[in-house]
């Protein structure tokens, strides 16, 4: 069984300067309760690894707007204008990663691979500083694994072993991020006894999860959106 903690307790060990992965796509699947607890705790200088910076007032977007992020790894920041401003004025270092490469780098970390070879980014600014390999007549970039100290993932249902069901399009980066961080906090709307979640409905196996937190904020980003 995994510890079931309050959000405050779960984020206690996240230090200023820690690296943190947050799953979600434009707020869909963000762990709103955990992000809120981190903001209330006053965490800053974070290295944030997330597919996009959502909208200014939604989920992970708030971390950027409240100046908690020193270094950002993301594939898209266009829906949160504050991200671009902070990048341009040098307040936040931003590394833009193609979305598929982003997923595979994180997966590589979690899967014990030394890196991945991808054709994405060949002939573009993305290949700068990277090793290029020609295999069977085709060019590939060597992309290195990407891990983090902590990850926030969000489920609709979790059992007490941390097995998690993520419906619809909320799965996005959660599956790979749960594999790639040292301490993985699972936020769940509903926590059930072992056996109540059909093993065939498990999106993320509980073995990756360090602690479980029950959501106290609604899952919908829609009514919050500007």
């Amino acid at each position: 069984m995994k510890p079931i903690l309050t959000a405050e307790k779960a984020v206690e060990n996240i230090k200023d300067g820690s690296s943190l992965m947050v799953s979600g796509f434009m707020g869909c699947g963000n762990a709103f309760t955990l992000v809120d607890a981190l903001i209330n705790k006053g965490s800053k200088d974070l290295t944030l690894i997330t597919s996009d910076t959502s909208f200014p007032e939604v989920g992970v977007g708030r971390l950027v707007c409240q100046c908690r992020v020193k270094q950002l790894y993301a594939s898209h920041i266009g829906t949160n204008p504050v991200s671009g401003q902070k990048m341009n004025c040098g307040e936040m270092a931003v590394t833009l990663v193609p979305q598929g490469t982003f997923a595979e780098r994180i997966r590589a970390k979690g899967a014990g691979l030394g890196g991945v070879l991808t054709p994405t980014g060949i002939g573009t600014a993305v290949e700068e500083g990277k090793q290029k390999l020609n295999l069977n007549g085709k060019d590939f970039l060597l992309e290195l694994p990407l891990g983090a100290d902590f990850a926030f993932v969000k489920a609709e249902v979790a059992d007490k072993y941390g097995n998690a069901f993520l419906p619809g399009a909320t799965k996005n980066m959660a599956v790979v991020m749960a594999m790639a961080a040292d301490y993985v906090i699972l936020e769940a709307e509903k926590i059930v006894e072992p056996g109540e979640l059909d093993p065939d409905k498990v999106t993320i196996p509980g073995i990756f999860i360090s602690a479980i937190v029950k959501s106290t904020l609604p899952a919908s980003n829609l009514q919050l959106k500007p």
């Binding site: 869909c28 898209h76 920041i77 595979e104 002939g123 619809g168 399009a169 799965k171 919908s220």
Partner: protein
């Protein structure tokens, strides 16, 4: 319908004719999204949403939004019968692995070698590439849908792109309000022109050299 909208509809209608029945298609946000509304009768295509599903349906009706089902722009949408949800690693395996038959994206610049620039203007617009680089590198057929010239009337189809590239040599077709152009190893071939323009006008609005197809079509 105002004339500008009519031209846009003409473009997306023409693009929609490209997809065979059963094709898996990924449409970019904006103009490319409109293509889904003009699939010819008798054909069915399957749309992919790169944030994690196949079977992307129309926007959700007001009051029917499900926060767990959004498109790549974060907007509430629907999934059609026959759709499937998956995570990002699977979604981009589908994209990079060549399982997407067609992708339609907007463009800032395209050149005669099939290079595409559509994700940033240094110092001005730096939204990030999102999934565009993977899509252009991985989809079997890449269609760029855009206005033939920019706001200032300058050509967007160039000899060589000046903006940072999204991908090198991956564009197969360019469809604009004026022309239907195929990218070949020997350069750009003008295959069709819009019904209210002329070959001369298209050539004038294009910086890259165009070869005019022997049998020129109209759309």
């Amino acid at each position: 319908m105002d004339p500008k909208e009519l031209k846009r509809v003409r473009m997306v209608k023409r693009i929609a004719l490209e997809f065979p029945d059963g094709a898996l298609v990924n449409l970019g946000i904006g103009l490319p999204t409109m293509v889904a509304n003009y699939i010819p009768d008798g054909r069915t295509i399957l749309l992919q949403s790169e944030n994690g599903f196949t079977g992307l349906g129309p926007a959700a009706q007001k009051g029917q939004e499900d926060p767990r089902v959004v498109n790549a722009g974060g907007q509430p949408v629907t999934i059609v019968p026959g759709g499937a949800f998956f995570d990002s690693a699977m979604s981009f395996a589908i994209i990079r692995g060549g399982h997407v038959d067609y992708t339609v994206l907007g463009g800032l610049e395209v050149d005669m070698e099939g290079n595409l620039a559509n994700y940033m203007i240094p110092g001005k617009m730096v939204p990030g590439m999102g999934g565009a680089m993977d899509l252009v590198a991985g989809a079997k057929n890449v269609i760029v849908a855009m206005e033939h010239v920019n706001k200032n009337g300058a050509p967007k189809i160039l000899k060589k792109c000046t903006l940072p590239l999204t991908a090198k040599g991956e564009v197969d077709l360019i469809v604009t309000d004026l022309a239907f152009i195929r990218v070949t190893k020997r350069g750009l071939v003008l295959e069709e022109i819009a019904e209210d323009t002329t070959v001369e006008e298209v050539i004038k609005a294009t910086e890259a050299p165009l070869q005019v197809a022997g049998k020129l079509g109209k759309f």
